[in-house]
């Protein structure tokens, strides 16, 4: 047991580390720390330890494809290495972890550049949830001097939208904050809906912050385009073999605090953290490899899995 590793697992589970990318980066760091500090005596023992920790990281946030992809890519390298000395294996895990982090950061910059091309001067954008990839696009938009107005939903129950509003306003772009329920009232003023993703399934369905699917349905109804900004490390390989992406539920106290709950006998709380936006509501997914229609998710996954 390494205290720092345990701490990362705890934070991921408790959503103290929240975003899809931050979660993946944290899981890479956990394995990297393990590589440095493991007290394993043999390569085999170390390998077992890495796999074990990898599984615990996945269990801490089962819906996160980026985390899963991150630890799986490290495990794959460990397995491919075969019989090597313990010290080599340690180095390999560390190198593999830092490569994945680099991949995330590069992808985000690239998505920012590619995505920004889709935004025109004068556009009004609506975003939901908190996505560092969406922020990367808006940062580029602001740098290019385009005048863009952004509607931001508050995103109950965690109210992450406030953070999004703050970050966008710091880019110098004007922001209008609204409640999640008000999206349909304003949709006719919007040119593009732009959201991030927690995971992307093989059919191009996008798992994102609860409410994203409603926003996309409203946009579809009003013939407003919905763009998803996501690095390819968000693609979920498990869905190729028919696995469903698990939708986690959060703490009920996010919706009702304990005092109110105690008063409300018989009242249950359901708090799904994500929902699934069907591919027919998505116009394009902006990845670091280019813009694809949601139907292109399958092809990208195949290419990714084939190495």
């Amino acid at each position: 047991m390494i205290k720092e590793v345990e701490e990362i697992i705890r934070k991921i589970k408790a959503k103290e580390i929240a975003g899809a990318d931050d979660t993946a980066i944290a899981s890479a760091r956990a394995l990297s720390i393990l590589a440095k500090r493991s007290e394993a005596k043999t390569a085999k023992e170390f390998q077992k330890e890495v796999k074990n920790t990898a599984n615990r990281l996945i269990d801490a946030r089962p819906s996160s494809s980026s985390l899963r992809n991150c630890v799986s890519s490290i495990i794959r390298e460990v397995e491919a290495a075969g019989n090597v000395k313990l010290v080599n294996l340690r180095n390999l895990v560390e190198a593999s972890a830092s490569r994945f982090v680099e991949r995330i950061n590069e992808a985000k910059n690239r998505v920012g550049e590619i995505g920004s091309k889709r935004i025109r001067d004068g556009d009004v954008i609506l975003t939901h949830g908190f996505s560092t990839t969406v922020l990367a696009i808006l940062k580029k938009v602001a740098e290019e001097g385009k005048s863009v107005h952004v509607f931001v939903t508050e995103a109950r129950p965690e109210l992450k939208g406030r953070e999004t509003a703050q970050k966008i306003s710091e880019l110098g772009l004007p922001v209008t904050l609204i409640i999640d329920s008000a999206v349909r009232v304003f949709i006719n003023e919007i040119d593009h809906v732009l959201i991030g993703a927690e995971a992307i399934a093989v059919n191009g369905a996008v798992i994102s912050k609860i409410g994203a699917a409603v926003v996309a349905a409203i946009a579809h109804e009003a013939r407003v385009r919905t763009l998803v900004a996501a690095g390819t490390y968000k693609l979920s390989p498990e869905t190729v073999i028919g696995e469903l992406v698990e939708i986690e539920e959060g703490d009920r106290r996010q919706i009702l605090d304990s005092d109110v709950l105690a008063e409300m006998k018989k009242v249950d709380v359901r708090n799904p953290l994500y929902d699934v936006t069907p591919p027919q509501y998505i116009d394009a997914i902006i990845t670091e490899k280019g813009i694809i229609p949601p139907q292109g998710a399958y092809l990208m996954l195949r290419q990714m899995m084939e190495g």
Partner: protein
């Protein structure tokens, strides 16, 4: 210049300051005030009586300009007076028409929620899963009635930002023993496949069957429509808006940003504004039925309800 009787003035103030609130209560209070005005009038001619009543009516209409139930209550009484004006022989006869009309409106309004409960419960089947948004006493009446009839139902109640009226709904139903799960407004679509019927209340209903209700209703309706789930509106007939028959649009009130985010927090965010519309409009094509105390109608029937009550415009 007319003066309002003291009691009428007091009721007018209570409506204005929101001491009296809720669509039904406002309407009943305003109509009650008209009855008091009729009883207190010392007018000697029919025209003077009408003038005095008209003054009281206008004072009441100015209290909450966006409410639909209040002007409808006032219109119910005043419409009756105008129509009776040419057939009565004395001020006292006319006064009787006014007080009768007021009594009838108040009684109807009280009975309406109960009738809606009875009509609506017939549309609920054993085992149904119901989703509701915000808090509506008519919706609660339907769900409670169905439960009393022994139908094993369960309910999803959205919390209803920004003011969380969904918590009142959840608490009320929970206390009646009905299993209820609270969800965020955004999760309505996520659970829609489990739902058999969505039932919501209304703040106003337009002549074309469009329903004005708490912000978020139209997106719940969209999610229901998309999933092929039935969408019912429960509303007393005094929520139908006659102005919309002549093409007026219903004004959507927008409230303070402090309902969404604290002024202190907002102040730290440069370039950030807040929009806070309180209502939205659900188009008629997403609505399957409107349950009123006069019976169940399709949204296309809104115009016939309006015509039945108000006829064509006379004042």
């Amino acid at each position: 210049m007319h003066a309002l009787p003291e009691k009428v003035e007091e009721i007018t103030q209570d409506i204005k300051t929101m001491k009296i609130r809720g669509a039904g209560k406002i309407a009943r209070a305003a109509v009650g005030a008209l009855k008091i005005a009729a009883e207190a009038s010392k007018a000697e001619t029919i025209n003077d009586f009408i003038d005095e009543m008209d003054f009281a009516a206008k004072s009441l209409l100015q209290t909450r300009p966006t409410a639909v139930s209040l002007p409808n209550g006032v219109r119910f009484v005043m419409g009756r007076l105008i129509r009776a004006k040419n057939v009565v022989s004395s001020v006292n006869d006319l006064r009787k028409h006014a007080t009768n009309a007021a009594d009838e409106f108040i009684e109807n309004s009280r009975m309406a929620v109960q009738r809606i409960g009875e009509f609506g419960a017939k549309r609920i089947k054993d085992g149904d899963v119901i989703l509701t948004h915000c808090h509506s006493s008519a919706v609660v009446a339907i769900i409670k009635k169905a439960w009393e009839q022994g139908k094993r139902i369960r309910v999803y109640s959205t919390e209803t930002r920004p003011r969380f009226q969904g918590r009142i709904t959840a608490k009320t139903l929970g206390e009646a023993g009905i299993p209820v799960a609270m969800i965020v407004d955004s999760a309505a679509r996520h659970f829609m496949n489990e739902v058999d019927k969505v039932i919501v209340g209304a703040d106003a209903i337009a002549a074309n069957g469009a329903v004005v209700n708490k912000i978020g209703t139209s997106m719940v309706a969209l999610a229901a429509h998309e999933a092929g789930v039935l969408f019912f509106v429960a509303a007393e007939t005094y929520k139908f808006s006659p102005e919309t028959m002549v093409g007026e649009l219903i004004v959507l009130e927008e409230r303070a940003s402090s309902e969404i985010i604290s002024p202190e927090r907002l102040k730290t965010m440069e370039n950030v504004g807040v929009r806070n519309p309180s209502f939205d409009i659900t188009p008629a094509e997403y609505i399957d039925l409107i349950i009123t105390e006069k019976g169940i109608i399709p949204p296309q029937g809104a115009i016939s309800i309006l015509q039945e009550i108000y006829g064509y415009f006379s004042f």
